[in-house]
């Protein structure tokens, strides 16, 4: 509530002071509340919440803004009113005792009254004036003023007096709400009250479409200020009225570059290795029994493990059913619920209209402020609205969540496996990431395949991965490319075995060859060694021959010299004069 206040206060335009109603959402639509010191007309058919809205205006004024209020009831008695709103937590008796609220019941019964001439409504003015002055009221509600017309005959007097009443209320400076029944045809009220109250007119509506009722609100006119012009659905529940002002599809949301894990490692790897962007939206679609809820639950589990809050809107299964089922795959959600990190909100789609679902979710999200929201599944919404309605609602949902920086995961059941380009809800174009889980039927068995159809702003895998649900959670098996294409399930296991065997055989063959080479090498090395020694011996042999030749030559030379000397007749003494020859001989 206080957030609403802060948000809308800077929008106030100096010329027209406004009064916060305190009704969730209404202050946003009117950009600050109702015109201060002026009357506002709330009109609508029976049972659309006029009385409640005006009473909430008074009570919230008294409780939250310290502005006492007077409620003039032309229809219900004070006790009846108190009883009607006690269920909303409004203690009218206490407020009356504290002099913050005054309820004045005006009873007019035509049968009891005889009109005997000229009259005016001064009595009402005096009563109202007295009531206002006695508690210093700033807010006044007249519910339903038109009852005067059924009680009194003189229309001319009534109209004149009403005109005077509105002037008088303005003079008093009270912010007033006048309620009026919707008239026949196009008129807003039966008695044309809208011509007296020209500052602000709010129309409430209660429409039944496909047996589902939705209350809507529209600001028809608000002089001197901008305001939301659409029809806004509103919800009446134990906290009073909440209006949903989702119109601002401005597309000016902040985006985060932070990445969060999906809780399935393999999937994170497929999404660029880091998972989803925080504040992004992801759609998980697939045929029945492909593990969409399991994926959603593991995302929730991961979120809670990070000590962040997660709201899980279960549209098909009850919370206890989900908890039980998820326990079988090793995900314990109960402990997160105990720590109040995980909040389940289970409701059947048919419970109320689309808009009401939106309002209810909106409210729940506002209340718990989670960082992750899961809606499982969105498929059944199609039962309560057309495709475009559902899409519209989800656009607004996504828009709101993005504005709040909340990540969201939708699951959707695709009924037809052939048409996988489009989900039934037509949201595939809206979401940031789209993960498809599907059956792969092959070789007499069904396996789950998962792939990322799109993922904005990140590099993602284009592979179909086999998705296995085990006792300990979800895993993605690596892409297994056999000789005949992608293999899954037992075919994959078999192929893996075959290949393993082949590998073993192959590796033993390699070993054998290695050994042979080694042996050959040894043989060759031995041969080389023997050749080497052979060479050495040959070399030695050659050397020996050479030396012998040399010796032989020396000896021959000496012998020749000897012979020569002898021939010349020289003695052995002369030979000593030729040392050169000696040296040569020695060598």
């Amino acid at each position: 509530m206080s957030k609403t206040q802060k948000k809308s206060s800077p929008i106030l335009y100096g010329t027209l002071p406004k009064v916060l109603t305190g009704i969730v959402g209404l202050d946003e639509i009117t950009e600050g509340g109702l015109p201060q010191g002026r009357p506002t007309l709330i009109c609508g058919e029976a049972g659309c919440g006029k009385t409640l809205m005006s009473l909430e205006f008074i009570v919230r004024g008294a409780v939250q803004y310290n502005e006492p209020g007077v409620f003039v009831a032309f229809e219900e008695k004070s006790d009846e009113l108190a009883m009607n709103v006690a269920s909303l937590g409004f203690d009218l008796k206490k407020l009356q005792d504290q002099k913050k609220l005054k309820i004045d019941h005006v009873h007019i019964d035509r049968s009891e009254i005889e009109e005997t001439g000229e009259y005016d409504l001064e009595g009402l003015f005096i009563r109202l004036g007295y009531a206002i002055d006695s508690i210093g009221a700033k807010r006044v509600v007249l519910d339903t003023l038109e009852n005067l017309f059924s009680g009194l005959n003189n229309q001319a007097v009534l109209r004149m007096e009403l005109r005077r009443l509105f002037g008088w209320l303005k003079e008093k400076g009270v912010t007033a709400i006048i309620t009026g029944e919707r008239g026949e045809g196009n008129s807003l009220t039966r008695q044309g009250l809208e011509e007296y109250v020209s500052d602000c007119v709010i129309l409430l509506d209660n429409r039944v479409v496909n047996q589902i009722t939705t209350r809507r609100l529209r600001v028809i006119k608000y002089r001197g200020t901008v305001h939301g012009t659409n029809e806004y659905p509103f919800l009446i529940d134990e906290d009073g009225i909440s209006v949903l002002p989702v119109t601002s599809l401005k597309m000016a949301n902040k985006v985060s570059t932070e990445r969060i894990s999906t809780g399935v490692k393999g999937l994170d790897d497929m999404l660029g290795g880091k998972g989803l962007y925080r504040g992004g939206s992801v759609l998980v679609s697939g045929t029945a029994g492909t593990g969409k809820t399991s994926l959603a639950a593991s995302f929730a589990n991961e979120t809670c493990n990070r000590k962040e809050k997660c709201v899980y809107f279960a549209m098909e299964e009850s919370p206890s059913q989900i908890i039980r089922n998820m326990r079988s795959i090793g995900i314990d959600l109960q402990k997160h619920i105990d720590k109040e990190l995980l909040i389940f909100n289970a409701s059947r789609p048919n419970l109320y209209g689309l808009e009401m679902h939106l309002v209810a979710m909106h409210k729940c999200i506002r209340k718990y402020k989670p960082s992750v929201v899961i809606i499982d599944p969105i498929t059944n919404f199609i039962n309560i609205g057309s495709v475009s309605d559902v899409k519209n609602m989800l656009v607004r949902m996504i828009d709101f969540l993005q504005e709040e920086g909340i990540s969201v995961m939708f699951t959707a059941l695709s009924l037809n496996t052939i048409v996988n380009e489009q989900t039934d809800e037509g949201v595939s174009s809206l979401v940031d990431a789209w993960i498809l889980v599907r059956d792969i039927e092959f070789n007499g068995e069904r396996n789950r395949g998962l792939y990322v159809m799109k993922s904005r702003g990140m590099k993602h895998s284009n592979q179909v991965r086999e998705f296995v649900i085990t006792n300990t959670g979800l895993t993605l098996v690596d892409v297994y490319l056999g000789p005949d294409g992608i293999l899954t399930g037992s075919a994959r296991e078999q192929q893996m075995l075959v290949e393993k065997t082949g590998e073993a055989i192959h590796s033993s063959a390699v070993n054998r060859k290695d050994r042979e080479i080694l042996r050959k090498r040894k043989v060759l090395e031995a041969k080389i060694a023997s050749l080497h020694s052979e060479f050495e011996s040959v070399e030695e042999e050659l050397n020996k021959v050479y030396l012998e030749e040399e010796l032989k030559k020396q000896i021959l030379d000496r012998n020749r010299e000897e012979v020569t000397r002898l021939r010349r007749g020289e003695t052995a003494e002369t030979t000593k004069k030729h040392p050169k020859n000696d040296g040569k001989a020695n060598r």
């Binding site: 004045d104 019941h105 005006v106 009873h107 007019i108 009891e112 009254i113 005889e114 009109e115 005997t116 001439g117 000229e118 009259y119 005016d120 409504l121 001064e122 009595g123 009402l124 005096i126 009563r127 004036g129 007295y130 009531a131 005067l148 009680g151 009194l152």
Partner: protein, 108 residues
């Protein structure tokens, strides 16, 4: 049964002698109020001589009474007694209607 008899008795006695208790709510000295006071006085004097009590209340002076008696349109006259209680609004200028409200109309 006894109660019903009582009611019937009172009806029977309407013209007989039970005093009329009338309460007239006016707003200060507005023209309607002044006319109403004059008119009712003359009617009472003519038809209910000496068997009526007329209380005139200015709700400007006593606004809290306006709520208690559920006053909206003024002038308002409430016939408290005899039973049944009747309310008449206006300046009492339509004598026939006033008499009807007082239960004195002769239907002729």
């Amino acid at each position: 049964m006894a109660d019903q008899d009582g009611v019937l008795d009172r009806y029977d006695n309407n013209t007989a002698g039970e005093p009329y208790v009338l309460r007239l709510f006016i707003t200060g000295a507005s023209p309607n109020s002044i006319r109403a006071v004059e008119n009712i006085k003359s009617i009472c004097d003519e038809y209910l001589k000496d068997r009526y009590q007329l209380e005139i209340i200015d709700i400007h002076q006593q606004p809290q009474l306006a709520e208690g008696e559920d006053v909206i349109a003024v002038p308002l006259m409430i016939k408290k007694s005899p039973y049944p209680e009747r309310r008449m609004i206006g300046d009492m200028s339509d004598t026939q209607r006033v008499l009807k409200g007082l239960g004195l109309a002769t239907n002729s």
